[in-house]
């Protein structure tokens, strides 16, 4: 029978593998796109034309360079966003799992009478309540995530790591919701770790991309260890 430690290990391994997959997808797809640019640079006789039969858009000598660079930009932005979401998903899953083993931690909370009437059994009521509680935690994530890790698992996130995660999440938000351009909300979320000023485009250089990827991986590993230690206390 699986223990909470086994399940935490499973969550951790799945998240770490997904992060590797995201990085591989970025690196390998980018190389394919770059090879195309290099071919056109080194072999002037190399010509090709690709037509998207749905949009009728043609990729040929006239637009291949700019399109390729744009696709690399978008690929980096999209996979960076996936990385951050991977961490958020891991965080939620850990709490979901933790409460499913320790539902007594939510003992002081109230359950809607409607939920009781609709549930086939007690386990279902507990499962749904945990789910609702964890979704609620996700909404206040940016303010409470450090204190939640501290209070539940005695896991302290250093100021440096917290600033790095907050900045990465703010970068994700800017790329997802503001076309990559810095706004006041980004500055409010990142404080001293802001990388650009309002109105600037928020680049995602590869060193920054890799640093964030490594940081998220190490944080997931450390949180998993902390949760497992907490279980044995």
């Amino acid at each position: 029978m699986a223990t909470i430690a086994d399940e935490i290990n499973g969550l951790r391994d799945h998240s770490l593998q997904s992060l590797d997959d995201i990085h591989n997808f970025y690196t390998h797809t980018k190389q394919i796109l770059r090879k195309h640019q290099i071919m056109m640079t080194m072999f002037p006789d190399f010509h090709q034309s690709v037509k998207n039969q749905e949009t009728q858009q043609v990729l040929d000598d006239n637009n291949a360079f700019s399109s390729t660079q744009k696709y690399v930009d978008e690929l980096r932005s999209a996979t960076f966003q996936s990385m951050v979401m991977q961490f958020e998903g891991f965080y939620s899953d850990v709490f979901q799992l933790w409460y499913s083993y320790h539902p007594g931690n939510l003992a002081g909370q109230k359950v809607e009478f409607e939920d009781i009437l609709e549930a086939p059994n007690k386990e279902d009521i507990i499962r749904k309540h945990i789910q609702t509680h964890v979704i609620g935690m996700a909404y206040t994530w940016i303010i409470t995530w450090r204190s939640n890790l501290e209070s539940h698992f005695k896991f302290t996130v250093s100021d440096e790591r917290a600033a790095q995660i907050a900045e990465a999440k703010a970068t994700r938000d800017i790329h997802a919701h503001n076309r990559g351009y810095v706004n006041q909300e980004y500055l409010r979320k990142t404080k001293n770790s802001a990388r650009n000023a309002v109105g600037d485009y928020l680049d995602i250089p590869e060193d920054y991309y890799d640093k964030t990827w490594k940081m998220i991986k190490s944080l997931i590993g450390d949180i998993a260890e902390a949760v497992k230690k907490q279980k044995t206390r």
Binding site: K35, M42, F65, S67, D203, P205
Partner: protein, 80 residues
């Protein structure tokens, strides 16, 4: 500045809303980086260089979208 690998002038490409970039051989990459650093230009180099059919390795130097591509081109031309 002429890149001996391509025998072409180093050119800043800036089309549409893609970030500006320069394709450069490893032979002149260090020289180009020095020019960019001295000019306080924000940039990064792709982590891989690519060679096709035993031709020289080429790398892509990405410029920040906040940089002015024309100004960077002038900087490179002046340095040459």
């Amino acid at each position: 500045m002429i890149d001996p690998a391509t025998k072409k002038q180093l050119a800043v490409s800036a089309d549409g809303d893609a970030s500006p970039y320069i394709i450069v051989s490893l032979d002149v990459l260090k020289e180009l980086e020095k020019i960019l650093k001295d000019g306080n230009i924000r940039y990064w180099v792709d982590h891989e260089a690519i060679s096709i059919n035993q031709k020289p390795y080429l790398a892509v130097v990405n410029l920040s979208r906040n940089e002015d591509p024309k100004a960077v081109q002038q900087l490179i031309d002046r340095a040459a």
